[in-house]
């Protein structure tokens, strides 16, 4: 029976994705739920699991192709049974000694596939019919042991060309690699070039002029580019700015940061307070927490907050927006823990699609790199994004007296189709009040 691999709905805003690479090739054995294909979507790359066990019979969408949700990506033949994936060599013959050559029952005719299908591909099975297929990512005990003995890191291990099933690094592979490394100590070990990620259609090549270089737009950068373009072209962006006196917050942090770290094991930053203040305000201003999709307004009475995390020392590795769920129910401490966790996972790249999906509102913190004011772009299909900017000591007038206070700009970009100026202003006032009065622990 042939089972289609369908491009799934990977998130409410995602209508299409790009095939980064196939982790299995045509003819390879695949196991149900085993990673099959890497798909680039909403700012992260995800691995789509196989819907069934069998043989990857035909790939319909090759690397670089843009695929829509619901589109067929490949076919898996689930009952094919043939030879094991021996690269060459004669098949077993019937006239071997003793009782060789038992005849296999004729394979069940596969259900007609809509596309012209090649002959049933090999399906190696164990003696009892179980299928076996480790993936590229599987590290066997002996390979792990050898890697540890030779100080080969996980990253380095993953760059060793694998000849096992699914590109798995076998004992022979790692031993060959170590031998080569030893014989050529001055030159770095050969690393296979990463699989090129062609785009469709391939853009006309640009000839770089003197002092220029041409970098193809791929991966996360491409996803960000497309996402922001879509957002910017869809929502009617307006930005409103409000100034907040953060004296109490700064003072609180100064006074409690060490105790907080000791007591809860988490670093106390300002961000949990912004998240909490915004979440409380969003419950009171639900339209700010809504989405306008196909002439319908989806209003949420819960808050999943996306928090932008820049990657790389200079932010050169892009940005992702992991989600903290149900922040309206969480304490400052919970939020602080969640933030630390997502920041860590974002940086060591263990964030999955689920971690960046489903945000109802986004918080961004350009203040962390000293920005004073800005106009963030909404994270489509959300309705608003709140930017927290640098805290700067300023002379301010209080009760007709001039005082020096730490001041921060809160910049709210919102979709003017749904939100009018006054609603946005009241929303910002609500956050401002929460931060200034600072009654989070009362």
């Amino acid at each position: 029976m042939a089972v289609a691999v369908i491009m799934p709905e990977l998130g409410e805003s995602i209508v299409e994705g790009t095939i980064v690479r196939w982790l299995k090739q045509e003819g390879d054995l695949v196991k149900e739920d085993e990673p099959l294909v890497e798909i680039m979507t909403d700012k992260v790359n995800t691995e789509l699991p196989a819907p069934a066990s069998g043989v990857l019979k035909q790939i319909l969408a090759t690397a670089g192709a843009t695929v829509k949700v619901g589109q067929e990506l490949a076919w898996i033949e689930t009952e094919a049974r043939a030879e094991s994936p021996a690269p060459s060599g004669p098949p077993p013959v019937a006239e071997v000694g003793f009782y060789g050559g038992h005849e296999e029952p004729a394979p069940v005719a596969p259900a007609p596939a809509p596309a012209p299908a090649p002959a049933p591909a090999p399906t190696p099975t164990a003696g009892d019919g179980r299928t076996r297929a480790p993936g590229r990512a599987f590290i066997s005990p002996v390979v792990a042991k050898i890697a540890a003995e030779h100080g080969i890191s996980q990253d380095e291990l993953m760059r060793i060309p694998g000849t096992g099933t699914g590109g798995r690094v076998t004992r022979a592979d790692i031993e060959r690699y170590i031998a080569q490394r030893r014989t050529a100590p001055t030159t770095p070990a050969p690393e296979p070039a990463p699989a090129p990620i062609p785009t469709t259609p391939a853009p006309a090549p640009v000839q770089p002029k003197e002092g220029e270089e041409v970098i193809p737009l791929v991966g996360m950068r491409k996803a960000i580019a497309e996402h922001l373009t879509k957002s910017y072209h869809t929502a009617v962006h307006v930005t409103t700015v409000i100034q907040v006196d953060v004296s109490r917050m700064v003072e609180f942090r100064e006074r409690n940061k060490e105790a907080f770290q000791q007591q809860y094991g988490v670093r106390l930053t300002y961000t949990p307070f912004f998240v909490k203040a915004a979440a409380d305000a969003l419950l009171e201003f639900p339209m700010m927490n809504a989405s306008l999709i196909d002439d319908q307004i989806i209003v949420r009475h819960y808050v999943h907050m996306g928090v932008a995390v820049a990657l790389g020392e200079k932010g050169e590795e892009g940005l992702i927006v992991p989600v903290i769920r149900d922040v309206h129910k969480k304490s400052i401490i919970d939020i602080a823990r969640d933030l630390e966790d997502i920041a860590k996972r974002a940086r060591n790249k263990t964030i999955g699609v689920a971690d960046v999906q489903g945000a109802t509102f986004t918080l961004t913190n350009p203040g962390s790199y000293g920005a004073l004011i800005g106009t963030p772009i909404i994270n489509h299909p959300q309705t608003a994004i709140l930017g927290t900017y640098a805290i700067v000591k300023q002379p301010v007038v209080i009760n007709d007296m001039i005082a020096i206070r730490p001041i921060m700009n809160l910049c709210l970009s919102y979709d003017h189709r749904l939100i009018d100026g006054m609603y946005a202003g009241r929303f910002l006032q609500r956050i401002k009040r929460a931060i200034e009065e600072f009654e989070f622990f009362r």
């Binding site: 030879e83 094991s84 994936p85 021996a86 690269p87 060459s88 060599g89 004669p90 077993p92 013959v93 071997v96 000694g97 003793f98 009782y99 060789g100 050559g101 038992h102 190696p124 099975t125 164990a126 003696g127 009892d128 076996r132 480790p134 066997s140 005990p141 002996v142 390979v143 792990a144 042991k145 096992g164 099933t165 798995r168 076998t170 004992r171």
Partner: protein, 328 residues
């Protein structure tokens, strides 16, 4: 050196041990005048007399029981099961009496008996003449279990089994009786194959095959085929199933990191399951693939030839699984 069949090797070993030690005697159904169902003891009664070659009634309980009693009194008994399938009638005598005797007597009384008989399938023998019963006895402390694959081993192991002071279950694969020929040393050499030592019948480095009995020959056939594909199988012939020579297995596993265990008995609860478990316990860090098995299906051995072929392991099955393992 003598050129003999597998059966003749066993026959020679028993004959020579009876010549050497007057305490050795035989008991079994039709083993005297008829020489046994397969002719292993043809001519023995004429040479050694009625007292040492005893035709027994059709009662495996009695045959094994008499052997045990005689052994307790100082004899060395060789009890023949006409087909090893019928050992089940004497099961209690083997597992509850013979196996436990030394323990029960506080180490005072050992039971030097060999319960031997034709074992295994591939001859159209159907369900009561085709079974491999090693797993049943493998499970019991106090027993040794032997199954050779080549004439020299059959010869040397039979001599060792007769001289061993413990009860030994000696399985003679009937498919090998007349098909497999080889040379054995002359009687003067006093050639013994120690129990509990495996033998590497073919060296290789892609994967390790652990097997015994007729499956050794199947594995060697498969190895010859796979060699053309660059798959080099190391074939370990256990020879003695209990006690297991795990060191030979572990050494090979450390070399190849991939293991295929083959046995002719039904898959579930087979000797290969124990071997697989021990390898994962002791050599986990050396494995580059799961330990895999080829065994009979969990079924009886059917009479119809195509069905017998389907149920029992074939060379194809071995080639197929070995390839998978090689390419894992």
């Amino acid at each position: 050196m003598r050129e003999v069949t597998f059966l003749e090797a066993i026959r020679a070993a028993i004959w020579e041990e009876m010549e050497r030690d007057p305490n050795v005697f035989l008991i079994g159904e039709d083993i005297g005048k008829m020489g046994g169902a397969f002719g292993v003891t043809t001519g023995f009664q004429e040479r050694f007399g009625f007292d040492r070659v005893v035709d027994a009634p059709i009662s495996e309980t009695a045959i094994i029981g008499v052997a045990i009693g005689a052994a307790a009194a100082g004899k060395r008994a060789i009890a023949e099961m006409q087909f090893i399938d019928f050992i089940s009638y004497g099961f209690d005598q083997v597992v509850n009496v013979a196996a436990t005797y030394l323990y029960r007597s506080g180490g005072q009384v050992s039971i030097p008996i060999v319960v031997r008989g034709p074992s295994g399938g591939y001859v159209g023998g159907s369900l009561y003449h085709s079974q491999q019963f090693e797993a049943w006895f493998f499970h019991v402390p106090g027993l040794k279990v032997v199954q050779p694959a080549f004439p020299d081993d059959a010869y040397g192991l039979m001599k060792a089994s007769i001289r061993d002071n413990n009860p030994v279950i000696f399985l003679e694969h009937k498919y090998l009786y007349r098909r497999i020929k080889g040379t054995i040393p002359n009687p003067e050499a006093d050639y013994i194959v120690k129990l509990g030592e495996a033998r590497i019948r073919r060296p290789g480095d892609t994967l390790t095959v652990v097997t015994y009995g007729a499956m050794v020959h199947f594995a060697l056939d498969a190895a010859r085929m796979l060699e053309q594909e660059g798959i080099s199988m190391e074939v370990i012939d256990l020879r003695t199933i209990k006690p297991l020579d795990m060191e030979t297995i572990y050494n090979s596993v450390r070399k190849t990191s991939k293991v295929l265990v083959i046995y002719e008995a039904p898959r579930t609860g087979g000797v290969g399951a124990e071997i697989s478990a021990r390898i994962t316990e002791e050599c986990f860090e050396w494995l580059d693939a799961p330990v895999m098995r080829v065994a009979a299906k969990d079924s009886f051995v059917p009479f119809a030839e195509p069905l017998e072929k389907f149920v029992l392991p074939s060379v194809d099955d071995i080639v197929y699984t070995a390839r998978q393992l090689a390419h894992y």
